[in-house]
Amino acid sequence: MPRTTAPAPTDLLRIDDELSDEERLVRDTVRTFAADRILPNVADWFEAGTLPRELFPEIGKLGLLGMHLKGYGCAGMGAIAYGVACRELEAADSGLRSLVSVQGSLAMFPIWKYGSDEQKEEWLPRMAAGEAAGCFGLTEPDHGSDPGSMKTHAIRNGADWVLTGTKMWITNGGIADIAVVWAATDSGIRGFLVPRGARGFTARNIHKKLSLRASITSELYFDDVRLPGSAVLPGVTGLKGPLSCLSEARYGILWGVTGAARACFEAAAEYARTREQFGQKIGGFQLTQRKLAWMLADLQRAQLLALHLGRLKEAGQITPEQVSLGKMSNVRTAIDIAREARTVLGANGVTLEYPVIRHANNLESVLTYEGTEEIHTLALGQAITGISAYR
């Protein structure tokens, strides 16, 4: 921890003044960690398409993994602190925020919320410490936005279950010690804890992706995997199980993307202040100033939206439609800012010397995962009209 970074002077509206002392300390801690450990290396990780496994325990030691859960070695922080942490991580790279989202909200949360005491004791402390990595298996090769039609299924065999199927686009899948896998059963969709090394369970990492390269994405195969009766999450049946997890993760995303957008805005503003063309700083050109002004206005609106939803969540009042609005709106804002920032940087904007194209490419995945922009749009359409356009 060689230096402490202060907040950048890009918060014109002083939105961060609304944060509590603890939330600011969370912000500064994650920002400093990112400056020390992530930012110096992330362009190389992105180019190489890797993420060092040793980051897991480092991030766990900070307390980022499952930070919003109570007990079992988790810090038990509020929703706004969780959002701020996601924001500061994603200001470094969406892949790092994805790692934390998946571990905390998609793998630990269902165990914490729906697991048995034995399951919680066995997995949560190790997952919080980053000693065990988790993943979340819902999406399938042919069933993305429509998870209810999943093919993966589990059937009873005496006291055991036998799990069969394929899951696709699974973050952390290839490094996971424990997979939370959702499968159709006679009594509806259930969640199963499948440990690494279970006979018949294999994972294959997906290569040749041009987005979230500093993140492991995998395909999971379950070939008649025999699991004990104790492997099922006892607390939930039906699609509401995985959907409740996704709602948690989407909340983190709608904060996180404001970090990516801020990083792009900062890069563009800095570039505009120093880059000269036609004998003057390009920041002095009206077209550039217009771009920067609108980027800032859009960024601060997204930040206000995140803070507002954080307050609703802390009050226990947040609804899935509100999360849909936040995820849809903030990711779209972030990707627009990233692309606009890229134009300010000109050709330099497409290189990994600057963070902008990395963020812009990452946000293409963020736009699609955890509920596509289209599905969130239709969820809002249904909330407004009372008519479902898709199911």
């Binding site: 921890m1 060689p2 230096r3 202060a6 603890e22 300390l25 810090a75 038990g76 602190a81």
Partner: protein, 259 residues
């Protein structure tokens, strides 16, 4: 072991720092405030010694109300409790006044070991350890790059241009540390939550039995009489490699004592 770590809140070295035009004191509103960088190392060393020898780590900080943020970070890293000396009358205090106030606090808390950064990034006097040791009548162990103690004796590596001296003394003692000594930990989120419940005693000058006339700019032995902005950086030296570039580069580094 009763370990006291002295922590100062300073303007972030990454932001633009200014002095006030009216009385030449630091403009604290002009820059973001953070823990003095070397004090992070002092906190870390205090925590490591506590982990090895037991006892308590107490944070002592003198500064405006905002310094509570620095104290919170130190408690979140793992210190047990804190004393915050804050008083409007302290504004503009120099090293001599600061050492008198801190010596008074240390008289209240008691200590086996006082640890502090070897200088602050704002004033950069680097004299506080010596002043405190003198006022407290204990050994001064300065510029430590390594600290070892058995609970009664303390041995440090005193960092020097040529390497280090091994210096030994008896506890209680005052130790100032350099950044080579360790790698400070980050505050953990559990630590941040726990810090909310840790005791922080806030003291005024009156609580310390001191009078406002003994503190602040007026009571200080030193004052900033004038200041000027640093001149713009001069052009660098360009060395043309005529087969002796390596030697010239080494000469340059040696002249700056880098090698």
């Amino acid at each position: 072991m009763n370990i006291v770590v002295l922590v100062k809140q300073v303007p972030d070295t990454w932001s633009e720092r200014r002095l006030r035009a009216d009385d030449s004191t630091l403009d604290r509103d002009a820059a973001d405030a953070v823990i003095n960088e070397l004090d992070d190392y002092a906190i870390e060393e205090g925590l490591r010694l506590q982990e090895a020898h037991g006892g308590e780590v107490t944070i002592v900080s003198m500064g405006p109300q905002k310094a509570a943020d620095a104290i919170r970070k130190a408690l979140s890293m793992g210190a047990d409790k804190a004393v915050h000396v804050t008083d409007e009358a302290l504004r503009g205090s120099d090293g001599l006044v600061t050492s008198a106030v801190l010596a008074s606090v240390l008289g209240r808390t008691g200590f086996d070991l006082v640890i502090l950064g070897s200088e602050s990034t704002d004033a950069r006097m680097g004299t506080l350890a010596a002043m405190l040791a003198e006022r407290l009548g204990v050994p001064q162990m300065s510029f430590a790059s390594k600290v070892e103690t058995d609970g009664s004796k303390i041995t440090i590596h005193r960092q020097a241009d040529y390497g280090y001296d091994t210096v030994e003394g008896a506890l209680p003692a005052v130790v100032s540390v350099v950044e080579k000594i360790n790698e400070p930990r980050y505050p953990s989120f559990k630590g941040i939550m726990a810090a909310k419940k840790k005791p922080v005693e806030t003291l005024s000058l009156a609580d310390l039995g001191m009078d406002a006339s003994q503190a602040g700019l007026a009571a200080s032995a030193t004052q900033v009489v004038s200041f000027a902005n640093r001149p713009p950086r001069a052009a660098g030296t360009i060395v043309t490699d005529e087969g002796d570039g390596g030697a010239k580069a080494a000469e340059f580094l040696a002249s700056r004592k880098f090698i």
